[in-house]
Symmetry: C2
């Protein structure tokens, strides 16, 4: 990763935003800009260079990880160190505007920082410069996300080995997470969803102690963090007889979601807006009479964070660019009954997109073992 | 959990803080006050009652989980719904002060909220009322933390079955996490630390792909979330010959940390300050000539969050009360060589404390298998 170039890119935008400096404290932004992977740090970017602040717990780690910035170890609270560093270098007479990450800095942190700054220094809410830069992934980032997606896909194969009626949802999740760890994942990118029976109608149904019942769907939504980058994938499996009346109804909903997902993927290419991709999925479900059961947005960006820009939702004007990585995950939910969701990760390309999730999306029914 | 009583407790403090209402958005505070376990919500507490806001993803879940508050589903952004709700009920002429959680609300969220509020409504940074209430655990909470600590302890036994020279750190972590999941843990309370060789000198050395070398310590610091509550425990194991020159030196450091940990535990009781507990550990290490290698604080509160109030650190004036649950975890670190840390969870009682971590702290050496 070319950390100095990423910092330079932000530094070059400071003047246009009428900022003399930017204080970055959001951890994924720090990792993106200078490689730091710990849990406490701040990066001060000025036209003249970068200074990274962390506390004594991360002294060794910061010196080995941080690239393109001078490392300063705070002997007290991190923001105090930043404030004092600025105060010691600032000429009293000079006006100086320090940009802050308004979406991440808390009200209390802003107040503490402001109290430490010398006269002449003013805080301003900066635009989301780093998040905007992070939207378009470089080749090395795409390779990492591809590896994460490939590892993620192997977990679903593992899940299918244990997913049967009577097995607890968490037993399926535990198998997947164990395999992920041994294969080198730092952790799961979010709490694993294995939602069966009526729980499959909960879009965020974390794996529970519930035994998987027959005659319903199981939604498996999961991802790993590998090399710092997230994967995100959903597959939904029918448990029971696929040729029964219930099975036929399930299949109808499943095929509707699958068609919607494929329509959205077909709509992804550079220069299209995120809202148009969302609309493509919604249109298919509406035509199938399932539109009102699709209660969330179609997708989101993925990278160092599991949810990042752009949002792929109704009316979103953000124009897709080559190198953006987004999820496409329509679903339909019948409260008290069951739900279906299918999700892939795709990379936006010039004339279309590349699907990173290698798993089949054919309707799959699991019978009693 | 008596959620209505918890809400009432906060409501009764509003007037003293010169607040007409408090907007709670920090997720652990929401779980504490009304039982909601999802990832997006806000609770508005006024003298007249409580209203809980969430988005459509959590409609079913909120109606089944939330106690003591009316549930409102936001059709747009959550804070917009809160702002509109207040605007629709507020009499223009009346002055009304809404407290916000300054340590959690971001600068941007505060700005968006302020823009939606009608004239007469003013925002004020509220004291950390909910965090203060959460410091003292009730009997049901202590039972949950005890269960979490007991499950956590079984993971260390599991770790010892696989921890040998040549085994990768992540293989040990994977075993522990797999066992935790099957036993009902929702997730680990933080990324599992299995730090061997020179990595044991990193206080936050997450399990890596590094094979465990002989002739060094392995620090295992781990916890589970069970029933919503966290456990936190550290044990350090010597890998290699305990009777060698290196082994003797290791043992000296280990016994120093163990004595310091026991001295800190002996200092814990109601009416003592957190700073006094920290000082007790520090004094023992200083006498052993190890004081300068103890580079972090002695402990922290544990409950719904892995790190919560009170801090157990040098100079902390917070007075311990019966029912507080804290960690005691001194350690010494020799950069490039190795480190040692020992950590238990204890409940503050009137004349002393109760240790919740059942694992032995005797020096333990693991030889090649």
């Amino acid at each position: 990763m070319d950390f100095p170039a990423r910092q330079k890119n932000i530094q070059q935008r400071l003047a246009v935003c009428r900022l003399d400096a930017l204080l970055v404290s959001h951890l994924p932004n720090l990792r993106y800009l200078c490689g730091f992977t710990g849990s406490a740090g701040s990066l001060l970017l000025t036209g003249a260079g970068s200074t990274f602040f962390t506390d004594v717990r991360y002294e060794t780690q910061a010196h080995s990880e941080v690239k393109g910035a001078k490392v300063t170890i705070a002997r007290k609270a991190l923001l105090s160190a930043v404030g004092e560093w600025i105060a010691s270098r600032h000429k009293r007479s000079k006006k100086w505007v320090l940009g802050i990450e308004a979406e991440h800095l808390t009200v209390a942190e802003r107040k503490r920082l402001a109290e430490l700054l010398p006269a002449g220094v003013r805080l301003r809410n900066a635009p989301a410069l780093v998040e905007q830069a992070r939207m378009v992934k470089d080749d090395e980032e795409i390779i990492r996300i591809r590896h994460a997606a490939q590892l993620g896909a192997t977990l679903f194969d593992r899940a299918l080995k244990v997913l049967h009626p009577g097995v607890k949802e968490v037993e399926v999740a535990a198998e997947m997470e164990y395999a992920a760890r041994l294969a080198g994942a730092a952790e799961m990118s979010f709490p694993t969803i294995v939602a069966s029976g009526a729980r499959s109608a909960l879009p965020h149904g974390r794996a529970s102690q519930q035994p998987i019942p027959a005659g319903s769907f199981v939604v498996c939504d999961f991802g790993v963090i590998l090399g710092g980058y997230c994967s995100d994938q959903t597959r939904t499996v029918w448990v029971g007889d696929a040729s029964s009346k219930e099975g036929n109804e399930a299949r109808f909903a499943y095929e509707g979601v699958k068609d919607a997902q494929q329509a959205a993927i077909a709509a992804v290419r550079a220069e299209v807006s995120a809202g148009e991709v969302d609309a493509a999925a919604r249109k298919v479900l509406r035509k199938a009479g399932l539109g009102r059961y699709f209660t969330h947005s179609t997708g989101h960006g993925v990278g160092l964070e599991i949810h990042e820009a752009p949002r792929v939702a109704a009316g979103q004007k953000e124009v897709l660019k080559p190198g953006m990585v987004i999820t496409i995950e329509p679903g339909v939910y019948f409260p008290g009954k069951w739900g279906v969701r299918i999700e892939d990760i795709v990379v936006v390309r010039d004339g279309g997109c590349e699907i990173l999730t290698p798993t089949s999306k054919d309707f799959l029914a699991v019978r009693s073992s």
